[in-house]
Symmetry: C2
Subunit: 489 residues, 2 copies
Amino acid sequence: MSAYDDLMAFTRETQALAQIAGRLDWDQETMMPRGAAPQRGEECAAIASVLHARRVDPKVSEWLAKLDATELDETARAQLRHIRRSHDRNSKVPAALAARIARVTSEAQGIWAEARSSNDVAAFLPVLEEIIGLRREEALSSDGDLYDALLADYEPGTTGAELEAMFGALRPELSSLRAAVRDAEAPPKLSGDFDEAAQMKLTRKLAKTFGYDMSHGRVDKAVHPFSSGSGLDVRITTRTNPQDPFNCFYSTIHEVGHAAYEQNIHRDYLLTPLGEGVSMGVHESQSRIYENQIGRSRAFTGWLFGEMRDAFGDFGIADEDTFYACVNRVSDGFIRTEADELQYNLHVLLRFDLERALISGDLGVADLEAAWNDRFEADFGFTVDTPANGVLQDVHWSVGLFGYFPTYSLGNVYAGCLHEAMRAALPDLDSQLARGDTTGATTWLRDNLQIHGGLYEPRDVIARARGAEPSEAPLLAYLKEKFTGIYGL
Amino acid sequence: MSAYDDLMAFTRETQALAQIAGRLDWDQETMMPRGAAPQRGEECAAIASVLHARRVDPKVSEWLAKLDATELDETARAQLRHIRRSHDRNSKVPAALAARIARVTSEAQGIWAEARSSNDVAAFLPVLEEIIGLRREEALSSDGDLYDALLADYEPGTTGAELEAMFGALRPELSSLRAAVRDAEAPPKLSGDFDEAAQMKLTRKLAKTFGYDMSHGRVDKAVHPFSSGSGLDVRITTRTNPQDPFNCFYSTIHEVGHAAYEQNIHRDYLLTPLGEGVSMGVHESQSRIYENQIGRSRAFTGWLFGEMRDAFGDFGIADEDTFYACVNRVSDGFIRTEADELQYNLHVLLRFDLERALISGDLGVADLEAAWNDRFEADFGFTVDTPANGVLQDVHWSVGLFGYFPTYSLGNVYAGCLHEAMRAALPDLDSQLARGDTTGATTWLRDNLQIHGGLYEPRDVIARARGAEPSEAPLLAYLKEKFTGIYGL
């Protein structure tokens, strides 16, 4: 066995343990009995401690030191890049701190869910403050900006300042488009009662339509939809609301984008660092292009209209064009995950700015709710009614995810780039989508992006697929054309 | 921190990891997509390897060597007894072998399920032979009899020869009682179609009636019912068959016996070696006393009759006495888990003898089906019709469980002892059970046995609860009285 083989055998076992840790999270959100939370906290802490010990194991440094990258092929060099990055980052974080973060965030999820259902912000703040303190402590072990250190967990090679510049270019354009849309006549709103079992049935059909492989996954309900796992076992969750079947369907399509990415990575990379999506931003590009550029296109919504008529009968929308406008209706809403494409990034920018301030210390948790509500009113023009519709709406902070939110908007930018390239490569795309056939689109995404897993750096894999460096321009052009058309601007 | 505190902190983390490994098994049987099996095999191997490394960690020997048991209290001494036993046993098994057993048995479960559903014994034999070889290899690392080494995993302090003697005392008495019953007139058999959703609803009510704590557990369906986990998260599975609701109900009550034992152990022992049922035999004593001595008693079946009438309407059984006889009907059947109390132990003795011969090498897998079928015909008087009703019926061997089957009959013997003592302590028991109130019985079992977890050795905890050494005599007396009464012998 060479040093490379030894290192990869060790790494493969670590990846398998990481999959187990992810499965525990899935279980916690879908299956776990409520009273198990304290014990689960111990379990999560134990596996986090094992994973941390392996990631900082001195054997890894020794193997890495023995290896000459120039003697290795591109794949092996990419494996080493990921292993070295993980080893270096984790070596800076003490095992006791990693275990404590795992334990506290595991318990915090239950506290958050309770606080959200009882609209009790105060009940969530102590544990939120504890989590922020722990993640600041973690970030302090890296040099440089605290927020950038956290961001590196989700989007290696990107800084808060770079994102701020990109979001700065997006924001005025989105604001101006949004103002124009709000002055125009709105399309009809979906109304009525949509049977939840029928929603789940159609949502499973949609998952399959978008290439989700049910023999390597499953669909369950959870408070907050998510995708979990890599390789041969990639599970998704969705939610139902009798008044809002689009929430169910587009949550599903979104999570299928994440899950299909994980399922479609080259099988040679299974249980290695290359066998996972390369970054959260690239991941989000897949979920968003599935959800929006494909799922909310005029062509695909034409097919979906027929499916919904079959499932629910006449639901008060007369034709495909009206349905398309209805699907893409820009509404005043509080909830990020329910937001239309146009306003979605404004939700994200709010969180990005607030969480940077929380981490820097410029904002304390006692002032968080007021800061959220003020910013929301400034950006959206109306007032948050309840904490469940405001500061308590997202699970992210309760599980310690700081630096994660901006990857959503980065993903939208990347989705814009990919969509432009995919349209150029597939002139027939709309006629396929109009038949409910996503094979052309999902195959293009698989072959040009998903299959590579972690082989290329995040920005590079987008550049390869696009044939040019990433830019926010295609996303803006797409949004302008789409909403100008729907709203007759 | 003293050496004891260090050892217990390390052990507590190991116990948490062991709970995770158990949760993976639960997931595999209930939730996991089929195509995930190869990856799950890697995951199981990885966590087994971590657990094995911790159980044989030289730090454990060092801590144990530093500790003077005479300075510790009874609880601490019991913890050390378990830790030392686990450390010694595992130190004899190489990590690579442990990982290989985990991987092969994980994959074998899928192969077994396929073979069983297609009645294809040959498809299962190669992996069965591999498993037997691996477990023999494991047993060879201990001194003494190979089968006893495997038995020690499930029933420490018991040997195959001791069990053979005990089963030798049981067998002629059971045979003679069985012969008398078969010559007598049989009670009516349950027939009709029983809605499976209604079965699941009543089965959940039964679980709660027997004290199962749903806030620390859940009930799902699986091919083979089981209980999984300890402490705050103890899950059970059951199955439904429209023609046989008793299968569902008594599988549930059986698994609730196992699960209540785990849920009721003293909370001070959570995630320590004392926080688990002390042996499989003692575990089975709980499942069997819940299922049979309580659940199939005249008093409790009187209440269940009313519940079934409420759930299913008139199902063709006229009164409580007839229902009681019907529940306890002795039928010609192939399936161990569906067998009545009278014949159940004959099923177990068959497996005990065959698996001892497989492990000793006296029997090869190529001859297993014929050996099973011959023995079955000799013991039961009729012929096995399909492998799914014969040699492929149980999951145990596919997951590597050799030495496990005899603990079922040992559990019945222990249940007989506990039942005798419980009846003496609770003269009012039958009037409680007739109201569907198991509180007296389950509280007595909790306080006299379950709460102790691993504090006492298996045989000792039964002796303490009984107030005398264990014996097969109470079980035989109970069975004779019960079936003499029902069959008017």
